[in-house]
Symmetry: C2
Subunit: 334 residues, 2 copies
Amino acid sequence: MGSGILRLILRKPGLAFVGAFARRSERAGMDAGRAIGLDHDLGIDVEADLAALVARTRPDVAIQATCSTIKEAADEITTLISRGVHVISIAEEMAFPACHALQWAEKIRAQAIEHGVGVLGTGINPGFMLDFLVVALTGVCSDIESITAKRVNDLSPFGPSVLTSQGVGLTPEAFRAGVEDGSVVGHIGFPESIHMICRAVGWEFERIEQSREPIVSSVRRQAAFVTVEPGRVAGCLHTATAYRNDKPVIRLIHPQQLLPALEGEETGDYIEISGTPPLRLSGSPEIPGGEATVALAVNMIPRLLSAGPGLFTMTDLPPPAALLGDARALTRAP
Amino acid sequence: MGSGILRLILRKPGLAFVGAFARRSERAGMDAGRAIGLDHDLGIDVEADLAALVARTRPDVAIQATCSTIKEAADEITTLISRGVHVISIAEEMAFPACHALQWAEKIRAQAIEHGVGVLGTGINPGFMLDFLVVALTGVCSDIESITAKRVNDLSPFGPSVLTSQGVGLTPEAFRAGVEDGSVVGHIGFPESIHMICRAVGWEFERIEQSREPIVSSVRRQAAFVTVEPGRVAGCLHTATAYRNDKPVIRLIHPQQLLPALEGEETGDYIEISGTPPLRLSGSPEIPGGEATVALAVNMIPRLLSAGPGLFTMTDLPPPAALLGDARALTRAP
């Protein structure tokens, strides 16, 4: 993700690339252009000491794209904030940090305000398809009974670490054991999306129930990094349901699997609201997650710089917009 | 629209109805409940003197829902602003007032800031389907070549004034004459939507071309207020295209007609972006315009009250969200 983000920043007028930090120390000392697979140097080396890098280069904004959890992201984010750098994070838990780490989120909010910077979590999911877009669509409703949003994607572009996290290639028994021991993770971000939706519309909810079921393949599914034989697991059907007054009011469904088309399932994004008026919106194939997250991280730069200090979720700021003009012209004084 | 808005306000916790103004003086003195078709009094009469009404009732926010153009809306809006009342307008031209009335918009912005209030134009279209939602979807793109958005609706719920403005029932010749003399208007709001999209993404454009073509019916189309015989006009196919470097980059299409299903055309909303990544999103039937505009006008109240003073378009504020909790709890200090 970091490579995609840097490639995009290099192409966007009004954005200047001033430094690259890599958590993996074997990257330190490499030219950043080489590190992201360009065939030429950028003249800026990847560094392993974030505080020193920031002190020397004094960036306006940093895009933090190194991990999924707040636990992993916290040190980098506080290092950046305390040095007066705005932060856009694509760590899934940063989409709504108060969900998993309420006290930390309040500390970060105070720290951000103290140092006059904004902090935002974004990404396709959580951050856009199953939360921001759902919220925006509720805007045309005067009442809502329930919300269902589904994202069906294809894991074939992804590498071994993602495939492992979805249990791809396992037996159904090993999948269930993996869910138990935490090695089969499914999607990270459902509680964040549910919190974001509920806070935006003013719903309180009692609980979230999640389930992770194996998608057992009836056919051979072959991709670059893995082959799934019939009877083995092609992916994880992860769902989350939020209950309010003991009724399911939000249902988020995200089956992530290898090549669903081989068994006739189309990929796509689907939002359905039972309300006044009822509405359905969908698109197929699914908006590609990697490209979209890269774009969102960069496109939100002017939005965050215009927002003033604080800790923000995607529904706290004006909508994302493709950054097609000069980023400086699209940034207004908060 | 005013009736629908008041009915919704009456149902929403945290909102109190304090006064009703009617431009049509024959409504003045009626109980507001009766005026909107309730079977009981609300104990608040409709008034014809807006300044006196505001001075006495001192509302936080007014929803201005009396007209389509800035020319018609201007007096009411300035009366409200100058008395310290936040304003949400559903006048189509208020969706992006700088488009038709740049100097007036700058004056209103300054006046709003002077009096510490926010002013917002909203509605389903312009304001949401063909602009806000388009902008939000561009947020997942790193580059865009062109945008096409289409809204196919059914005019059968609408009354004579809307049907006349779309040329329903005319001969094709009379339709063309009506376009010439301005009696066949088509959709109001394409330039506003195009300005909103272009400003959000940072695109400059050279010109907008609009066309209004008759939709000639091959079948008999019968609705409550009108019957269209074969050979007559069932509605107006209105399109607007924005050009950039002499290429069409935004194309908005809005055929408004009676009962399109009778000739096999589904109603619906369609957004297609040619870009990186390409994307399509659609929903059928179309989000009903009247209900959605009513909901947006009310749902934006907490968003506007949280925004601080200024003149806003829908893409300047956080996304709309259904107002399902207490409106006061959803309003934050700006």
